[in-house]
């Protein structure tokens, strides 16, 4: 067990690991994951707007996996790992890392850029929301697994503490 007291609430952790979720690619479960992320980001010390941003990014990433990696099949596996990571680069505080893993076909990185917003049309907004919300957005293929890595760092000036 290890205690960190640099940011937010001091959480007992094991190499930063906080939470793992395993779910099927069923859109009905998106609200369940959002509920878990809302609580986790609150305990982690994010401000209300930051909590909404992180939750939105994870929700949109899961939506993309369900729609594009699994083509709407609702029985495929998805894993979500959440961990505390130390500050990186110019960041001053710890971050929340969320790793989303699926077993769908490899993703063409060219399709992960998102679309321009100067045209009013439905669709293609999810990636934009993810990039707007998170400090780090990365994709890699590891064997047969797609790994989407999202990180959001705490902002020392805005972080809120919970009792």
């Amino acid at each position: 067990m290890r205690q960190r007291d640099t940011t937010g609430v001091s959480l007992p952790s094991n190499d930063g690991f906080l939470l793992k979720l395993e779910l099927h690619s069923d859109p009905q479960l998106l609200s369940v994951v959002r509920g878990a992320l809302e609580r986790l980001t609150e305990v982690f010390g994010f401000s209300p707007p930051e909590r909404r941003s992180v939750t939105r990014a994870v929700d949109e990433a899961l939506t993309n996996i369900m729609r594009h990696c699994y083509n709407g099949r609702t029985d495929q596996p998805i894993e979500v790992y959440c961990a505390r990571v130390p500050p990186s680069g110019s960041q001053l505080a710890d971050g929340l890392e969320i790793l989303l893993c699926d077993q769908g076909p490899a993703v063409d990185p060219a399709k992960l850029r998102g679309r321009r917003l100067d045209e009013i049309k439905p669709g293609g907004l999810g990636l934009h929301f993810i990039r707007q919300s998170m400090d780090t957005v990365e994709y890699q293929r590891a064997g047969t697994t797609n790994q989407f890595r999202l990180v959001k760092y705490l902002q020392p000036s805005t972080q809120s503490r919970t009792p």
Binding site: P27, L30, S31, R52, T63, D118, I120, G126
Partner: protein, 110 residues
């Protein structure tokens, strides 16, 4: 998510509650397009005051409703946006594209 409709004169108000996400945005889209394209209702109003969360597929449904209403020369109005819903429309640079009001009175008197 639940969606119900109130009809009066030339206006239909959709009362939506719950979260709009991939699980149910097709239902919202279907209801909106039926009202705008098939019934050709002159004014369609979305009461989002009990909607806590809208994802990109929900925004896409609203955009389709807006585009259909423009094609029909009808009006498409939103009111009662939560902080989350407002943020998502701002992020997508759509907040100024929609006709948005704080409450139903303002929406209906506009």
């Amino acid at each position: 998510m639940q969606i119900s409709a109130r009809h009066s004169d030339s206006t239909t108000i959709f009362d939506v509650s719950g979260d709009i996400d991939l699980a149910n945005s097709p239902e919202v889209r279907k209801a909106l397009l039926r009202e705008v394209r098939e019934k050709r209702t002159p004014r369609v109003v979305m009461n989002l005051s009990k909607v806590r969360y809208i994802d990109s597929s929900g925004v896409a449904s609203l955009v389709e409703g807006l585009k259909a209403s423009r094609d029909n020369n009808s009006r498409f109005i939103l009111f009662g946006l939560s902080a989350s819903a407002r943020e998502v429309l701002q992020l997508s640079r759509l907040l100024k594209i929609f006709e948005v009001y704080d409450n139903e009175d303002q929406a209906l008197s506009s």
